[in-house]
């Protein structure tokens, strides 16, 4: 990616840090933790069970092998949090470093996935906020993401936590956020 993306001038602060527990709208107790390679197998199982209809822009990939290849990269380079319901993974959110090609500024690309049976219960928002809180403690300042133009629910959520739209020239809308790392 190029370094031309714009970020909000004002940094956003106050995101919660992992670990934390909350009750979702279906009365389930959900725990959000920062995770590393040790959690990869459980998270891979969530993605293997993922409904292909909820796939966005080619991810998650299909089939166990491709899911593993994809997660290997994400866990090798990125910051990850997962939402657990008991031992089951209900969702996963990640910040993957975006190493600038030219002299662009270092940034992280964000994505969140919530397993179908756990959607519409507020877990996505908690995952998002906790990932941003975790990112801030790890020195992440610039975050961007893309979302399909027709996904207004997701765009509303991102806007709500502080993302601004910074690119709308094709099928995906690009949004960015500046994190307060103080």
């Amino acid at each position: 990616m190029t370094g031309q993306r714009s970020y909000p001038e004002e940094a956003t602060a106050g995101f919660p840090e992992p670990p934390r527990t909350f009750t979702d709208r279906e009365d389930r107790e959900i725990r959000i933790e920062a995770v590393d390679e040790d959690a990869l197998e459980d998270i891979a199982a969530m993605y293997v069970a993922f409904d292909p209809a909820d796939r966005a822009q080619g991810i998650p990939p299909a089939g166990e092998e491709r899911v593993h290849d994809w997660l290997d990269v994400i866990f090798d380079e990125g910051l990850n949090v997962a939402a657990y319901h008991g031992d089951d993974v209900a969702g996963h959110a990640t910040l993957v470093p975006d190493v600038p090609e030219d002299d662009g500024e270092m940034a992280h690309e964000l994505a969140i996935f919530v397993l179908q049976t756990y959607q519409r219960a507020g877990i996505g928002r908690e995952l998002l906020e906790t990932l941003l809180g975790y990112g801030a403690t790890q020195g992440v300042e610039r975050v961007w993401l893309t979302v399909e133009r027709w996904n207004s629910a997701a765009m509303g959520l991102y806007r709500d936590v502080g993302f601004d739209t910074c690119g709308t020239e094709s099928f995906e809308v690009e949004m960015s956020l500046t994190l307060d790392t103080e």
Binding site: M1, A56, Q57, G58, I59, P61, W70, V73, I74, E77, T94, V96, P97, D98, V99, E109, A111, T146, E169, S170, F171, E172
Partner: protein
Amino acid sequence: MGGCERDEPGETTLGWPGMGASMRVLLGLAGSQESMRALERTVERAVDAGDDLTIAVMQKEDMKRSSDEIVELAREVTDEYGIDAEVRVLEGEPGPTLVDVAEREGFDELAIGGGTESPMGKIRLGPVTEFVLLNATMSVRLVR
């Protein structure tokens, strides 16, 4: 592949009626990494399928390579594969110009790069791809 027909005993024909006829393919290039990949794969495929290939080099403001360089690269690749493809430089906005030329000149298929990947592995389609997909009246090949 569906619709397999066996013409003669012992001879298997894969495909559909008329498949043997070569197609006229217009490949649009804009010098990006995805374009270069599309070039190699489309030329390779044109050789296998016996397609009649025309390569259109587009002009974009943020191009990393000049159109002369891209023409040069296109010639190198077509020479390497031993096919005779016309290479031309098109002025104007890439998406609209490609669709216009393809339709006006009756091409059977328009081939373009199929997007880039974000650090996360998300597929990203640019505005040229979007314009082509929504406006082309012929088949479009997105090369990945």
